[in-house]
């Protein structure tokens, strides 16, 4: 797909701008940079640059814009839809060395970070200072820049919302190299179109995030999780909208199947505290006193016991949380390790259709004779459904995969859902986005893309064609 190959002159010009140890060309670029975490979408950049600053990125972009060279930005490469793969070659800017936490502003409750800071580093930094950065995607080794680019929300979305709700300001380099400051430390903003919110979730197609001001909340002093076993998945998930109705405000409601827990046990080489039941809900409650947290979770625990739960287990100490949540954090890798290849469907549906949708994936698994394990955020309707190739031949796998995706996205749409809850559209899911939102919305998106990137150089071929 490399239509626009860089000339030797262009490569030399870039080498003039960047110190030798931070620029790699052609065969010097490792295999890792040709794909993301899920694989399936491949393409090598022609030049890989580890960028260090806004000014440097601006300088590179000015040159690339003038020379019409495509540019793809990559964080830690943990994406799952090929968004950070250089499918048209060109320059790849890797942000992982821009990994400094620049400022903690305790008066405005904000933290200012560079895009290459990892989510786990940010979470730890916030906690050490008595704050919580609430967005909590499962992939803790993702960069915050990549995370803002997909708007992945993670596990605490039920109570705290998603990444978008915590981005106050962004420094962005536009495709022509211009640097703009969007938003800031301000809490409210009714000043024109929110360009900041367009950048969030734009998967690197509109601008390059070089700095972010994020909102923090005071760290809740106590938290307790409940692990609730059920005899079957449907009873478990059917309980979720009812739990929400109890107004107990859990921070997270995750669902998990025994099969997936057993994969995680194998993968981590560690036993989960309970695997006697077919399905589990995992809920977390937080607050500033144990009494408050207990009164919240007891309401939910009693409801669960009265409505089909086998038991309710209390996950209250750091060791118990580690035993349960480390398994939850390893699900994606564990399913991946259980099969030859897999692809995923990250649909989001209204909460009251989660049970219907999971039942449907079970039906499909039977109908297509294929393994479809799943887990996800029952509390916000975002499911992670994995289709496993196992022993299937390549052609049969591709055919089944395509038919299954069609069926699942169609069903999600019937329920009023969307193609992606948090992984994004990238390269892999463009067709499904087009089908779901229709030509009018795609045209609007094309117009926005054109306004930011008239030459179509930044992350070409992603999100929209």
């Amino acid at each position: 797909m490399n239509e626009r190959t860089l000339s030797q002159g262009q490569i030399s010009a870039l080498k003039q701008m960047i110190p030798e140890e931070r620029i790699r060309v052609g065969g010097q670029i490792g295999e890792d940079y040709s794909h993301d975490e899920l694989g399936g979408v491949f393409g090598y950049p022609e030049v890989l640059i580890q960028v260090m600053s806004t000014e440097e990125i601006s300088e590179i972009m000015k040159y690339a814009y003038e020379q019409e060279i495509p540019v793809v930005v990559r964080g830690a490469g943990t994406g799952l839809v090929g968004a950070a793969v250089a499918v048209e070659g060109g320059i790849m800017l890797e942000t992982t060395r821009m990994n400094h936490i620049l400022e903690l502003d305790e008066e405005n409750l904000t933290v200012t970070v560079e895009p290459g800071v990892l989510l786990m580093e940010l979470a730890q930094y916030a906690e050490e200072h008595g704050f919580l950065y609430p967005p909590d995607p499962g992939e803790k080794s993702a960069t915050i820049g990549g995370n803002i680019s997909t708007n992945a929300g993670g596990m605490r979305a039920v109570k705290y919302g998603v990444t978008r709700d915590y981005v106050r300001g962004l420094t962005v380099v536009l495709p022509d190299g211009t640097v703009v400051e969007l938003g800031g430390k301000i809490v409210k903003n009714s000043s024109g179109y929110s360009l900041k919110d367009l950048i969030i979730g734009s998967e690197g197609t509109l601008g390059i995030i070089t700095r972010a001001i994020l909102k923090l909340v005071p760290l809740p002093e106590k938290s307790v999780s409940l692990l609730v076993p059920y005899p079957e998945m449907e009873t478990a998930i059917a309980a979720v909208p009812k739990i929400i109705q109890l107004k107990a405000a859990p921070t997270a409601i995750e669902f998990m199947e025994r099969e997936v827990i057993l994969f995680a046990e194998d993968y981590l080489g560690k036993k989960f505290p309970d695997t006697d039941s077919a399905a589990y809900l995992l809920l977390t409650f937080d607050g500033n006193s144990m009494d408050q947290v207990e009164s919240e979770y007891e309401k939910v625990a009693k409801y669960c016991l009265d409505h089909g739960a086998v038991d309710v287990y209390i996950v209250d100490t750091p060791e118990r949380k580690e035993a349960v949540w480390s398994a939850r954090g390893a699900f994606l890798e564990a399913i991946k390790a259980s099969t030859t290849e897999m692809d995923e469907c990250d649909v989001v549906v209204p909460r009251n259709h989660v049970a219907d949708f999971i039942r449907y994936t079970h039906e499909l698994a039977g109908q297509f004779d294929i393994r479809i394990p799943s887990f996800g955020h029952a509390g916000d309707g975002n499911l992670h459904v994995y289709i496993c190739q196992d022993e299937l031949g390549e052609n049969e796998w591709k055919e089944k995969l395509s038919a299954l995706f069609d069926a699942m996205y169609a069903r999600a749409e019937e329920y009023g859902g969307a193609v992606s809850g948090e992984h994004g559209i990238g390269f892999a899911k463009r067709e499904y986005l087009r089908r779901q939102v229709g030509e009018t919305q795609i045209e609007l998106m094309r117009g926005i893309k054109k306004a930011f990137d008239p030459k179509g150089l930044l992350n070409p071929g992603k999100v929209i064609d």
Binding site: D274, L305, D311, V312, I314, R320
Partner: protein, 262 residues
């Protein structure tokens, strides 16, 4: 099979201050929890109960608030809790604690197997389990990873010896102390909590013991005294070296020689 697990309530955090005058931990106002190692012992006991039938009792010594760890063990699946609580028992060292536990155990009943965590996270001596066994005249093994099987009159265990794992056979009754991460302890059940309420714990004191001589208990019965306990000095001085790996290695070598480490 009648099993007893010895457990202890310890401070919930490692950031506990030490009272330099008395040499004891300042426990007031500090949250507490069950000693981590004891959870492995409870789990092992409950696994054996499921495999071979029988009962699991739990015992602890402490003030009334230590009832909480007994309740937690009951919510995990234990059948009966015994709290040894008496002012006369305060200030006990390893010997007096072990003796007190042995007296409490003799009051409680006859057991085929007694399980302990291999050590506590506050005292850290790892001696109370074995000493209790000596007072009870029982065989004992420490650092047990797993009980492999129980047969008529004996059981087989894996014992962690750091560099090797030994498979041992012991006659019953015996006492085992469980190694860290020996298993994944089950979680306390809220269902059991609702069912049991605050029932299930019996409280005993010195007057229930066969040996009522107060000079054998608490500070009076403790031949060891902590002379001084103090937080280690913190040294935060540091020197940064920068440069090429080769030069850095040379500087490090030089420094280690100067300080006579090599």
């Amino acid at each position: 099979m009648k099993i007893l697990v010895c457990i202890k309530q310890v401070p919930g955090t490692t950031a506990v201050e030490v009272d330099e005058k008395t040499g004891t931990l300042k426990r007031e106002g500090v949250e507490s929890k069950m000693n981590l190692f004891d959870l492995y012992a409870i789990e092992q006991a409950l696994i054996l109960k499921k495999q071979y039938g029988g009962t699991v009792d739990v015992i602890t010594m402490g003030p009334d608030q230590a009832r909480a760890v007994l309740m937690e063990a009951l919510y995990m699946g234990a059948d009966r809790g015994i709290l040894i609580s008496d002012r006369a028992l305060a200030g006990a060292d390893v010997l007096a604690t072990s003796y007190t536990l042995a007296q409490g155990i003799q009051w409680s009943g006859e057991y085929d197997l007694i399980l302990c965590g291999k050590q506590t996270t506050d005292g850290d001596t790892a001696q109370v389990g074995p000493e209790t066994a000596e007072f009870l005249g029982m065989e004992h093994v420490s650092n047990v990873l797993k009980v492999l099987k129980v047969e008529e009159g004996s059981l087989e265990v894996l014992e962690n010896q750091e560099n090797e794992v030994r498979r041992l056979q012991l006659p019953l009754p015996c006492l085992l102390t469980m190694e860290k991460d020996a298993n994944t302890p089950r979680l306390p059940s809220y269902k059991r909590k609702l069912e049991m309420g605050d029932r299930g714990v019996e409280v005993i004191s010195l007057k229930d013991f066969k040996d009522k001589d107060t000079s054998h208990y608490g500070a009076n019965g403790s031949p060891t005294r902590v002379e001084r306990i103090f937080p280690p000095e913190k040294n935060t001085a540091r020197q940064m070296y920068e440069g090429e790996p080769k030069d850095l290695a040379a500087s490090l070598g030089q420094l280690l020689k100067e300080r006579k480490f090599i």
